[in-house]
Assembly symmetry: C2
Homo-oligomer: 251 residues x 2
């Protein structure tokens, strides 16, 4: 599995991804799932990936090569005129890679599938965030759905739904994502540290601060410890349930 999140904020975008991949529980590896392309001053594009690693690495490599060797027939992701065109290009590349490796006649086989989150800003456009499906189609974030999760999305969702705020600062957003990742990592062995994060400031047209959080990161350890206590205190602060009648012999 995997866990990646892309958040749309009024200040810009924040993306976070874990690094664990596995081919069975006895065969795990660490791969970076966060990728960046930028031409400072004109475009900044961010991609996180979940799903089959061969598929997602092929997609990233194809997109990457096109930014280095320009050809009229295979334009670079950095030459697109809008983030919509970027999402379309990423979706087409993904669909092509999957169809190449999918055995003929096994259309329903999902084992080469991947789902991606792509975000960024180009020229005078707004920062935009998309989730790209294995079929190559995609959806865009909105005021109603301002973030996307891919991979193991369930354990970390309740806190995102409750504490996300479009106007929060980047550092608060990283804190929120770390809580969400901590809940997921505690519950699913196929999601693990290190965690990569990437910030993008709206209008900057250059990648913002980024970093990798490892298992010995003091802040992560603190969050992981303190969150358990804070959650317990939040639970204790709720009003008590009272049984309709005192039918218990002792309590």
């Amino acid at each position: 599995m995997t866990y990646c999140v892309g958040l749309q904020l009024s200040r810009g975008l924040v993306m976070m991804s874990d690094t664990r991949t596995n081919a069975g529980i006895d065969n795990i590896s660490t791969f970076r799932k966060m990728h960046v392309w930028s031409r400072p001053g004109s475009s900044a594009i961010f991609l996180t990936t979940s799903g089959n690693v061969a598929t997602t690495q092929a997609v990233v490599s194809i997109l990457d090569e096109r930014t280095k060797a320009h050809k009229a027939r295979s334009p670079s992701i950095l030459d697109q005129e809008s983030m919509f065109q970027v999402a379309r290009m990423v979706g087409e590349t993904l669909r092509e890679v999957i169809s190449t490796y999918r055995p003929a006649g096994m259309e329903a086989d999902g084992s080469f599938n991947a789902t991606l989150i792509v975000g960024g800003q180009i020229g005078t456009g707004e920062p935009r965030l998309f989730m790209v499906y294995p079929e190559g189609n995609f959806i865009e974030s909105s005021a109603d759905t301002p973030f996307f999760q891919i991979g193991e999305t369930k354990y970390g969702r309740p806190i995102l739904v409750r504490a996300y705020d479009r106007d929060m600062g980047f550092e608060d957003a990283i804190k929120l994502l770390l809580v969400s990742f901590d809940s997921t990592i505690k519950a699913n062995l196929s999601v693990d540290l290190p965690i990569d994060y990437q910030i993008y400031e709206a209008g900057s047209l250059v990648p913002g601060p980024s970093g990798r959080i490892t298992r010995d990161d003091r802040y992560y350890q603190t969050i992981s410890e303190v969150w358990g206590k804070a959650l317990r205190a939040a639970f204790d602060s709720l009003p008590d349930f009272r049984l309709p009648e005192r039918t218990l012999s002792r309590n």
Copy 2:
């Protein structure tokens, strides 16, 4: 889907189940998933169900009929000598029902499957809690794994893991379960109110307090509202994340 939880406490057992069933998102119904058999003073047995409704209703009906019409060849669940024998009987009944309706040759077809939680106490034995699989085999709770969830288990798991305490009171346990159910209901349309709960006091050998919590229950509404705020306050109480260097132009 479904969401049911069985908790083992030092004081006894608490079980909670939702009531939503669906055959597609456009075809939903309400069914009770909590079942009780008891011979006061000698046994009290509780069962919650997830999975195919035809399967779980058949299992419950078969077990139920045997408690009413005694026959030497089909003993009643209330005549078992231990909770281990009860779990075995429930597992065998479940496996038989599934194998009856599973089309020949489609061993891998999971559509008639169901998973159950069975708990209770018989005679001088301890209260025990089991999770029963579609294959008829089962596992028992322990100090390391003191509760079982079936159905949509993920959204509601983090709070259970963090706030469960073996020595908590029954009313605190109901409060904890309602928070876990609220997170699940908010995230998955196939889990919904009303919620049934059942308490069993260790040593009582009679079903404890039980009840149904509906959408207009004032306490549930309060928990649902206040939990969002409490979670938000817990999040705010965490130490702030600071980017390694101030590379943001504004924050």
